[in-house]
């Protein structure tokens, strides 16, 4: 009797990529809900537009590349790309912004490299940074949270704004919009002023960024519990942010914002839990992940403090993505039998003498 052959091992698959991605998708839900609550319907439109565009772009590229749709479209990774990108975008973004970003992210940063697993850079962050440098105006359309700001737009009002660029008669865009805390901080620095006030505004304003961050933390906890992420990157990244900002703050508290401000403002928590942890573009060794995360934290604070852009997390992630192959290479865990200081050495020596 003849048998078809297959390589070992011959055991049941215990998990799959789509399970992993589904976990992440669920983990994004609490943060998204809170963001919609705080920042208005625009966030929801962003998510829908970006996710839809990302999915279509992936399908189109697969078709062009004559690759099967099956595993690639059902692994749900592309949904994460779109979703994460959307959560970085301003709540008053025009409709094309998430679309362009998602398409660029999927086509250039992911599919040109061969699709899932092969990309060197985090697609969502590539999409975000491309939008940031190309459409700075659209990218600064941040509506103020809850009270009186963008969140007060009704669903139809928000839709009209997103898709048609029309606002309710009485409201001007400038009335809705507001610089983000990071931006406010920057302006204060350039125009002189009290940093303390801005730091406080993060907590005031309904403490909104605190709630948002708590929601993301909940999602992160779920991913951790399900084994979708490991602790190294988030912890190291937050440590990097705190240490670097603490250092600068210690040097000149009038010029640099404090660690808590840095931690809560902008995308640090979200980035640490959802973006830097993207397994494909992150380092894959335990020590490497510590280096990777720490590097992101440090770079993010440096870019925030000295660079042109108010938030450096996305750039920091791309910059550390660059270094991943080298980090991986130099942080290989010691192989079985080669652990430094392991007892084997002494045994060998005694053997050598005998």
């Amino acid at each position: 009797m003849k048998f078809p052959v297959q390589t070992s091992p011959h055991v049941e698959a215990t998990s799959s990529v789509s399970d992993l991605m589904t976990t992440v998708l669920w983990a994004l839900v609490p943060g998204t809900v809170v963001a919609v609550w705080l920042l208005g319907w625009g966030v929801l439109f962003n998510v829908m537009l970006a996710v839809g565009a990302a999915w279509l772009a992936e399908a189109l590229m697969l078709w062009l590349r004559a690759r099967p749709f099956r595993p690639a479209l059902t692994d749900r990774s592309v949904l994460i790309t779109g979703w994460i990108l959307a959560l970085c975008l301003p709540n008053l973004a025009p409709w094309w912004l998430p679309v362009v970003g998602a398409v660029f992210a999927v086509v250039v940063a992911k599919q040109l490299y061969g699709g899932i697993g092969y990309n060197l850079f985090n697609p969502a962050m590539v999409g975000y940074v491309v939008l940031l440098v190309s459409f700075p105006e659209a990218m600064t359309r941040w509506g103020a949270p809850i009270d009186g700001g963008a969140a007060s737009l009704s669903l139809t009002q928000a839709a009209q704004w997103t898709f048609l660029g029309v606002l309710p008669a009485a409201t001007g865009f400038d009335a809705l919009s507001q610089a983000t805390p990071l931006d406010q901080w920057r302006m204060l620095v350039t125009h002189g002023g009290e940093i303390r006030g801005v730091a406080a505004s993060v907590w005031q304003g309904g403490g909104w960024s605190l709630w948002l961050n708590l929601a993301f933390l909940a999602g992160g906890a779920w991913m951790f519990y399900r084994g979708a992420i490991r602790w190294h990157i988030p912890v190291a990244m937050i440590a990097g942010v705190l240490l670097m900002s603490g250092l600068l703050w210690g040097i000149d508290p009038a010029r640099f914002a404090g660690p808590m401000f840095h931690l809560l403002a902008g995308g640090v928590i979200f980035g640490a839990l959802f973006v830097a942890t993207d397994p494909v573009s992150a380092s894959t060794t335990p020590r490497g992940r510590l280096v990777f995360g720490f590097g992101i934290g440090v770079l993010a604070v440096l870019i925030r403090s000295f660079g042109n852009y108010p938030d450096g997390v996305a750039f920091a992630i791309l910059l550390m993505n660059l270094a991943v192959p080298l980090i991986d290479y130099y942080t290989q865990p010691p192989v079985f039998g080669r652990k430094p200081g392991h007892a084997t050495e002494s045994v060998t020596q005694s053997r050598g003498e005998s």
């Binding site: 062009l64 590349r65 004559a66 690759r67 250039v108 440098v133 190309s134």
Partner: protein, 233 residues
């Protein structure tokens, strides 16, 4: 070395062995100066002239230089040609000269030029060398201009804007708007856009080549009656 056929030389320079797309040389000016068509055109012409002149001169003096000083002498020839061009541009195309900036003197180190001087002009007669310089320069220039046009259209939404810098007042209204301003994608003007734009051009060429060779293989396969495996792209 036997004399090549002119048509082959032309095909080589423009397509098969295109200095920018295949040899991937001369990238610095290619990427730095291709943000508008006019800049690209200006540098393309400067490069082409340099290539033609330096190839011609090298071919004329090739019997006079000994091997150990060959390289310095060629570099010298090229540097002189470039400096002369630089001076002339400074005098007669001043605003273009200002925008191209450091990349005019840097034509000296454009690897294509020394490569052609060494690889071709030092072994062929004057006519062939000049022709080779011309097609190579043209091959490089076409890519430079294509990239310039691509980036200008996507990044500014215009084409041939500021043509007067190069062509004088007659060209004042040559510039046309291709895309409305709201639809421009500024990335194209930035360093990443330059890299990705060139990537698109090279990929475009590779796609055409691959298609052709696939066809050729299919044709050959059909003749010998073998089934050919379709290569999925």
């Amino acid at each position: 070395m036997s004399d090549p056929r002119l048509s082959e030389l032309a095909l080589d320079g423009l397509w098969k062995n295109n200095p920018a797309l295949v040899q991937v040389l001369g990238l610095c000016p290619l990427l730095a100066i291709s943000n508008t068509t006019v800049n690209a055109l200006g540098l393309a012409i400067a490069t082409l002239v340099t290539l033609v002149v330096s190839n011609g001169v090298v071919s004329l003096i090739r019997d006079w230089v000994r091997s150990e000083v060959r390289l310095p002498v060629y570099v010298m020839v090229i540097a002189s040609v470039v400096t002369i061009i630089e001076l002339v541009m400074n005098a007669h195309f001043h605003s273009l000269y200002n925008t191209l900036g450091i990349f005019i003197p840097l034509i000296v180190t454009n690897c294509i030029i020394i490569a052609r001087a060494e690889g071709f002009a030092s072994r062929h007669g004057f006519g062939f060398s000049v022709f080779d310089g011309f097609v190579m320069g043209a091959g490089f220039g076409v890519v430079l201009i294509a990239l310039g046009a691509l980036r200008e259209v996507i990044g500014f939404g215009t084409l041939l804007a500021d043509a007067e810098q190069l062509f004088g007042p007659v060209a004042l209204d040559w510039g046309i708007r291709v895309l409305p301003e709201q639809m421009t994608f500024m990335l194209a003007l930035m360093p990443p856009g330059a890299f990705i734009g060139l990537a698109l051009l090279v990929a475009f060429k590779q796609a055409i080549d691959q298609r052709q060779s696939r066809r050729a293989r299919a044709a050959r396969g059909a003749r010998s009656g073998e089934p050919t495996a379709e290569v999925a792209g």
